[in-house]
Symmetry: C2
């Protein structure tokens, strides 16, 4: 995330080359705490320490791709390149796995304890979970059919250190699995809507509200309030009284969305909690794709982006969260909790800095309620720095950070002050759903995930055009074609090194940022049965490790 | 707004028939204050007191239309019908005018003083502005060319009394004119962007930021903060120092949007202020259309709706603000300011009321960060009534109100409590812009504005189909065709009275709510010159009063 954080970047001091465990997971200068995880490149790339070292060449900027001998689920393609020098390490991280969430007894609900997954067993590099909240059960087999299998792809774009991005790339999928565990049976039972109260029969009582017009019902609020919560409990063996209240019907899909939302939150809580024990530097954006029971769930917290390219149409699957797109939310917060602005910032926005001599003049401004602009008379108070300032990629919250959602950043402060940034950041993703079963997909229909290094220099249309053209020139049976397309895309966004820097087509500036790209073909989603059991999972895992 | 407010409706006691000055402007039972304005129907309908009396027949529900002898700007069509009995009076109000905003000296900026307009002079029924904040200058002529002419259409849907709707229908256009006054010259000068500081030359200095990469610049925030606001002022006769800060370029359009946004706010402030002097009952939604310099600005605060029908395509020009669409904003507010919930409500949402005996079980919920649902263990705290409750038209904030933006409602409380609703309501409109000059418009291309009584029973597609079919069967030269189409539309939404109530096609229930509809042909917008002066206005006014 180029130029996205000022202060902490300056304090960056992790080692450049890793291989060992003391690499760039660091970031907080002077932290004596051990790293939570060593700096790494995505495990599925299968890089040797030497290869990782070579990949961090800021001048050559080699594009790393998935080796032909390796397979990701659905023949997913992947490519990445390091930045042009803005940080020693590649602060992007990626993850792609097939995960099993196992049914969890309802009585067993410890907070933020990620689930065991079979993939965890396969990875020798994964720590044994001490202090991670990971519950590894090596003795349990994968053969029980009580699990729910989901496919998972994720990109993380770190800033001010790679610690948070590395941790999130190793653990977020387990938080999702954990959140799904409690609702496995409800989600799998497509014949009944999720019950309001877990364990109770779904409410099939016809709505009684239809017989009583709205205003009369509404007038009885106070009565129903008392009646509902204050009424003596019926003995449990008498039939329940008819329900005179409305009940909102919740769809299965909403439970998956809620699980992903809460998983992001729990991941963030875990980072905050474990910062006291480990050195987890910086923060990161998170873009995840979960495939479950025929649907893709795209969760985004940050400024990475996912689009679907289907039959040459572009379907945006995420929206970026930036100081500009979230201005009104942040101004509203600053207005309501002015102490968060530390007497140094104003929640108002101005088109530029105000000079003291301009007090008394009328200047353009906008408040949290406005999308337009108006003039106001400048007062002393307006000389404070605006909470949101700058445009486009230079826009900043509290003059510090250029992205407004993500994980980590708990210690990030405004330079030379005691003002924390975190209260203005949200770890909550926006989740969009795409029903794979509602469409037929050809071999060239794909979902593209990219960090902002890609999208800063290429538009949706350019990306779609590039991929479509590339794929149409490949052998449709070549499973490596999606990785080749990802490589081509990263090349187009990075460009070539000339006298005056990295250049792409039409002499435009190439991206100097880290760039990471997944290209996920969608046709495999159509071929997967709605409720995949372990056999299917096993097949996928086998193909993955061939 | 049918069934939208419970408590205050019960207290409604304004007289049914008006004609005089003591009609339905009332609403607060027991208010001894005089009415701000008498209850009325839109002035442009030209109804006699007898006609107004007949129009309030809740059984016959006659559809009122613009008389053939009367013209609105652009041959706008209008029709309305009263509700089926939910309130004695028609709580919808409408306004359509051509307004002149005159240049206001910069030094003259009293807060919330609406401008004089020539239309105000024509209306004998308009009070002389005493106590209104209206500044009428009868001695000034309309002939000066320093004014800015805008066309204005507005619908207001009242609840809990018609006072706020009547006041807003009489005054909101003046607030818009007032806000525009200060920026007239800036808006008219299309050759220069609005200056950041009023009166200064627009900043044409090339950006210097391009030469210094972001992170380095950002690091100097503290320094620039001091340098900019703390630097000693230069003597005014020395050339200004080069600007080393960025300056956001604001478009003319943004100033019009800001003017409309602030006009809504000032209208709301005026209602609050004058409630101490006048009896201004209830609250209202507001949907306004302003045509200015070739563009339509559609401002919406509430659940009325505007769509454009162009060449059979539907272009939504507003989005409804309801407890469901604004849930997350309201929950966020309730979470941050829990005292607003008065210990009776919880900011969490549940799919239904919880019974005390269910404490300890796991129930579906969602918080302000979530769009999906998850299960949580029920605690005593969760027995409180949810801040947002119900679905669709039955959704309520604080069990009271079904719309979340609008004007008035300052005294509205939760039934039998001291919890105010107003902090959760916003008077701020969302403004969407449509550039008339970018499209050719035929005689059947229209903008449709309707209160929720229309859209509750007819979809956008049904409305478009209905209007397009109707207009294609009319003489294109008949200027009354848009009113006939509006009448047809209101008829389709109201239906006919059968044994079991009002029925529309396919035996569906007709709308029992007040229904008001403007149909505005767009081709006249193309024909109006970009900067209309007074001559054009005069012609329009003449045709209006023929």
């Amino acid at each position: 995330m180029l130029t996205r954080v000022k202060s902490a970047v300056a304090g960056f001091m992790g080692g450049i080359m890793t291989g060992g465990g003391s690499g760039g997971g660091g970031g907080n200068s002077g932290s004596d705490l051990p790293l939570k995880f060593p700096y790494m490149r995505p495990e599925f790339l299968g890089l040797s320490p030497d290869e990782i070292e070579c990949s961090a060449d800021h001048v050559a900027r080699p594009i790393l791709i998935l080796k032909e001998t390796r397979r990701l689920p659905w023949a997913t393609g992947y490519a990445e390149v390091i930045n042009a020098g803005k940080s020693a390490l590649n602060e992007d991280q990626a993850c792609c796995e097939v995960v099993v969430a196992r049914r969890r007894p309802m009585s067993y609900c410890p907070p933020s304890t990620p689930s065991k997954t079979p993939t965890a067993k396969r990875r020798n590099s994964l720590p044994n979970g001490e202090g991670l909240g990971l519950r590894l059960e090596h003795n349990r087999t994968c053969e029980d059919s009580e699990g729910l299998v989901f496919h998972y792809w994720a990109l993380f774009d770190g800033h001010a250190g790679s610690g948070a991005a590395v941790v999130a790339s190793r653990l977020l999928q387990h938080h999702i699995a954990f959140q799904l565990q409690v609702v496995i049976e409800i989600i799998r039972n497509l014949h009944a809507l999720p019950p309001a109260v877990m364990g109770e029969e779904p409410d099939n009582t016809p709505y009684l509200q239809g017989n009583t017009p709205g205003p009369h019902r509404a007038l009885t609020r106070a009565a129903s309030l008392r009646g509902a919560s204050g009424a003596p409990s019926s003995p449990s063996n008498t039939p329940p009284p008819p329900r005179f209240y409305t009940e909102k019907k919740i769809q299965h899909e909403s439970l998956v969305i809620g699980a992903i939302e809460n998983a992001f939150k729990e991941m963030d809580v875990q980072i905050e909690r474990e910062k006291h024990v480990y050195n987890i530097s910086g923060g990161c954006t998170a873009l995840t794709v979960v495939y479950l029971l025929g649907k893709l769930y795209v969760g985004n917290a940050g400024d990475s982006r996912a689009i679907i390219i289907r039959n040459n149409d572009i379907i945006p699957m995420s929206a970026e969260f930036t100081p500009e797109s979230e201005r009104q939310r942040l101004q509203f917060l600053g207005y309501m909790q002015p102490h968060l602005l530390g007497n140094e910032f104003t929640h108002l926005e101005f088109p530029r800095r105000i000079q003291r001599k301009e007090v008394g003049k009328r200047m353009l401004y906008r408040d949290f309620t406005m999308s337009g602009w108006a003039y106001k008379t400048i007062e002393d108070e307006d000389l404070k720095f605006p909470l949101i300032y700058g445009e486009g990629k230079k826009a900043r919250v509290l003059a510090t950070i250029g992205v407004t959602r993500g994980l980590g950043d708990h210690d990030l402060k405004v330079h030379d002050s005691n003002i924390y940034i975190k209260p203005f950041l949200s770890c909550c993703p926006e989740v969009k759903v795409y029903n794979l079963m509602q469409h037929e997909h050809g071999a060239d229909d794909v979902l593209v995930m990219g960090t902002d290094g890609l999208w800063d220099v290429l538009s949706n249309e350019e990306v779609a055009e590039s991929i479509t053209t590339f794929l149409s020139n490949c052998d449709p049976d070549d499973l490596h074609r999606y990785t080749m397309a990802a490589q081509d895309l990263v090349m187009r966004a990075r460009g070539v090194l000339r006298d005056r820097g990295w250049r792409i087509t039409n002499e435009r500036l190439g991206s100097g940022d880290d760039i990471s790209v997944f290209i996920i073909p969608l046709m495999y989603g159509n071929r997967v049965p709605c409720e995949p059991g372990f056999k299917e999972l096993k097949g996928l895992l086998d193909s993955k490790t061939q």
